[in-house]
């Protein structure tokens, strides 16, 4: 394993600013990126992550001074472009959809001036590592989202860049693909000394970086090693949450209603033997679920697992081919039920060109809420979304987090008995996410509202009472997050986090049958029946000093992948 260089930084920013049409996107950024490390640029949507990455790639002009390996990015950025690779945000954004997997890789090699002799061995290694080798001739457009992102990474790496710049490479892809993506990155950093600069809004991903830069509203609010922030048993999300809040309490949204929204049926939703086909594709395969009144229920699974299809069947947008569904004792699609459910779709359900107030009024009209009742609830929705005093603001000018909470408020305007939320929090910052979830919990506790949520963000699974992990149209695990983690421990053993003072020798633990995953400067170790003493013995025998070794709760991602693979 290559030793981490402590040499001069590879990218240096001094007072870098960027303004788009009068909007200050970056304000006086100072930054140093060290070579052969993964540096995470984290922050909510609109904080300037993409802008910063574009400036580093030399595809965006800026004010201030920026150097890339000693070259002035302001004047001579063309000179360094073959030494870097940049992958823009969005699934498959850098790919040519009409080209095959191999044609895409070859094209990238050609424009980066890589001769076929140097290209081919690297190409084979990348295709092997990503599991894309059997699909060389498949067109990019026929790949799944996760495969597209992996191919995007292959294309970026085939030129053997010294610096790899990735803009949210894992947003919207499933945990399994995300895991493979990180394995490749770690491998290139370790073996080729590649420097990676990676934008992300997932906090659990930031924990895998050697260094993090936290952006907020175009400024750096933290820059350093994640270990500096993470106290015992606390993740980065927690740390940033506290940093952003600065010791303040998160304002609690009181819900001024005492009425319970439900009544009658104890099972809010029951799904029995539901299957759904799209042509010959089985999107749902005999789903059995029973969700209790007031439960916060999470649906997790890779893309295409059937989460959205299931929700659409529950609210009556799709009709299952077999099986029965009842929601509060009623059939999906019946007019009585429509008054008792709320739905917030993946794609935004607000009208961007209308003001906040006009959106709420529109939803009031749609749900038949009017007069004094509408006025009362409007005040409540504004309060909940933190938009009091901004009623006249045009919705598209709001930050994403506020839009999401407004959309949530609108979806609850009719006080539904059951609320369906399809990926409600992607791209939202930790504070907004926390208050979002706090609100959802309150709806469930105070009003007895049942909430069904789908999410890719596995950290959020912990906020749910119960979760169902779906794969290929089936529910493969169904329980509370704690019980699922316990089942994982039972079968896979305890997970330990080790933070050594210098990088571990390759094979130190793997040769003893212990699984190792690097997390920045730290490592996660696990094996069935693994005990702390066993790890300590290995460390002592090689004289490896460490900052700490501790047992941790298994990350939800590992639990998720465990259940996926147990089936496979």
């Amino acid at each position: 394993m290559k030793q981490r260089t402590e040499g001069p930084p590879i990218i240096v920013f001094r007072g870098v600013s960027k303004r788009f049409k009068g909007l200050q996107v970056l304000r006086g950024i100072d930054l140093e990126v060290m070579p052969s490390e993964i540096t995470g640029i984290i922050g909510p949507d609109g904080s300037g992550k993409s802008t910063l990455l574009k400036i580093c790639s030399g595809v965006l002009s800026f004010e201030g001074r920026a150097e890339f390996m000693g070259t002035d990015l302001g004047k001579e950025c063309e000179r360094i472009k073959d030494r870097l690779s940049y992958m823009p945000q969005g699934i498959g954004q850098n790919l040519y959809m009409e080209l095959s997997v191999e044609e895409n890789i070859d094209f990238f090699a050609a424009i980066k001036d890589v001769p076929p002799g140097r290209r081919d061995p690297l190409k084979d290694r990348l295709l092997e590592a990503t599991g894309l080798a059997p699909f060389r001739r498949r067109l990019a457009r026929h790949l799944s989202g996760g495969m597209k992102q992996k191919l995007g990474i292959c294309c970026s790496l085939v030129s053997g860049p010294e610096v790899l710049l990735l803009d949210e490479p894992s947003t919207g892809i499933d945990p399994l693909s995300r895991r493979q993506l990180w394995e490749i990155l770690n491998d290139f950093v370790a073996r080729s000394g590649t420097t990676v600069l990676l934008g992300t809004s997932y906090m659990d991903e930031a924990e895998r970086c050697h260094a993090v830069v936290f952006l907020e509203a175009g400024g750096v609010i933290f820059s350093g090693h994640p270990e500096e922030l993470m106290e015992r048993e606390k993740g980065l999300e927690e740390a940033f949450f506290e940093m952003l809040l600065g010791g303040r309490e998160l304002p609690v949204q009181e819900i001024p209603f005492s009425a319970r929204v439900n009544g009658g049926d104890p099972a809010a939703i029951s799904v029995e033997g539901v299957s759904k086909y799209f042509d010959s594709f089985k999107a749902l395969d005999g789903i059995e679920l029973s969700i209790g009144q007031g439960e916060v229920f999470g649906l997790l699974g890779p893309n295409g697992a059937g989460k959205t299809t299931l929700i659409k069947c529950m609210i009556g947008l799709l009709r299952p081919d077999s099986g029965t569904i009842t929601v509060t004792g009623l059939r999906p699609g019946s007019p009585e039920l429509k008054q008792k459910i709320g739905y917030m779709s993946q794609t935004f359900s607000l009208y961007g060109d209308l003001s906040v107030r006009e959106n709420i009024e529109l939803y009031g009209t749609l749900y038949g809420v009017k007069g004094a009742e509408l006025r009362e609830r409007m005040g409540w929705v504004l309060d909940v979304s933190g938009l009091t005093g901004m009623e006249r603001t045009i919705v598209k000018r709001l930050p994403l987090g506020m839009k999401q909470r407004l959309a949530l408020g609108c979806a609850t305007l009719n006080l539904p008995a059951v609320l369906f939320l399809d990926e409600p929090t992607s791209g939202v910052d930790p504070v907004a996410r926390r208050s979002f979830w706090q609100f959802i919990r309150r709806l469930s506790e105070r009003l007895g509202m049942t909430v069904i949520v789908t999410t890719h963000n596995l950290v959020e699974a912990d906020f749910c009472d119960r979760i169902a992990i779906m794969n290929e149209g089936r529910v493969i695990a169904l329980d509370s997050p704690e019980n699922l983690k316990a089942a994982f421990r039972e079968s896979q053993g305890e997970v330990y986090e080790l933070y050594p003072e210098s990088p571990l020798e390759g094979g130190l633990f793997t040769s003893r049958g212990i699984s190792v995953t690097p997390f920045g400067r730290r490592y996660h170790l696990w094996k069935k029946g693994l005990r702390e003493e066993e790890i300590k013995a290995v460390l002592d025998s090689t004289g490896t000093a460490c900052h700490y070794l501790r047992r941790i709760r298994p990350p939800m991602e590992d639990v998720f992948i465990f259940f996926l693979q147990r089936r496979g």
């Binding site: 965006l60 823009p88 040519y96 050609a110 424009i111």
Partner: protein
Amino acid sequence: MRKVLAITAKEVREIWRVRLFLVLAFFVPFTMFIVFGYGISLDVEHMPFAYLDDDHSQLSARLVEKFKGRYFELQGELSDPGEADRLLSRGALRAVLVIPSEFSRNIYRGGDTEVQFLIDGGYPYRALTVKGYAQAIIADFNRELVTERLERAGLDPRPGRPIRVETRYFFNESLRSSYALIPGLIALVLLMNPAVLTALAITREKEFGTIYNIYSSQIKRWEFLTGKIIPYLVISAINFLVILLTVRLLFEIPMKGPLANLIPGAFIYVLINVSIGLLVSSVTRTMVSAQIVTIIVTVIPAFLYSGLLIPVANLEGGAKVMAHLYPTMHFMKIIHGVYLKDLPLPDLLPQVLLLVLYFCLLFSVGIMAFRKREG
């Protein structure tokens, strides 16, 4: 050069695999040519026509007979003036000849008489032409009547018309507008198609995000743009040949000069239009806006200022300057020179050189306007 070829190879694969793009590349220009070719004609011929004869004489029948021919197509006799109104307003007739009841009696008496000619004036150009035809036919009939009258009086009729005009039309002997218009359409199709395709090819990469692969590589601007336009030059060459064949075989319009005289001009003309597409794509972000802007800057001026419909000599002031600024007019001169006049190459040279100049200018501006770094 390796990079240029890599770009070209990628582009060709994409064009070939996206059926919509193939349609856009080949089917659209061909269809456009056919539709325009059949639809566009400045000839006013075969005008549907009827008459209202209150005279019912041999003389009125002779007059009606004179209207039959290439210009008017007799639809029949009408019974009352209301019917004439109705049919004119429906567009079933373009003109109605009304012959009053005293028509022949007045003439035989040696006096003069009137006929009424009702014309659909909705489209002034056509109405004026129809009026001209009618006047010419009546004048001819008048001359016959005068001749007959003089002969009947035993006089020599010849001094009645001392000057006769003998007209001969050069280049387009039968004076068919299609002989000028349809070859002229080549300039239109070779203008719009390469420009739109090129503009789309580059904005497509902007819209999908793949342009960042280019922005973030050391590939030079000319390498990327050259590689990008090669397939569209080939497509335009194929379209050019297909259209030449269509002109010859379908519209049966002969080319008087040799094809070789047309090719250099056509090649540079396509290069110019590809460069226009390039320029448009530098200032637009999406495919839709690129398409709209390209059509606005190419087709509209081409119709108005190229000499296709309106001879440039008839344009005034600003319009005339515009006409000379747009390259289409110069290529139109080459087309007409080859198709109608069989001009030798040296006579076409000034136009060709002008086009070369346009190309150098537009292509360099196009390359400079393409920025590998966003603002």
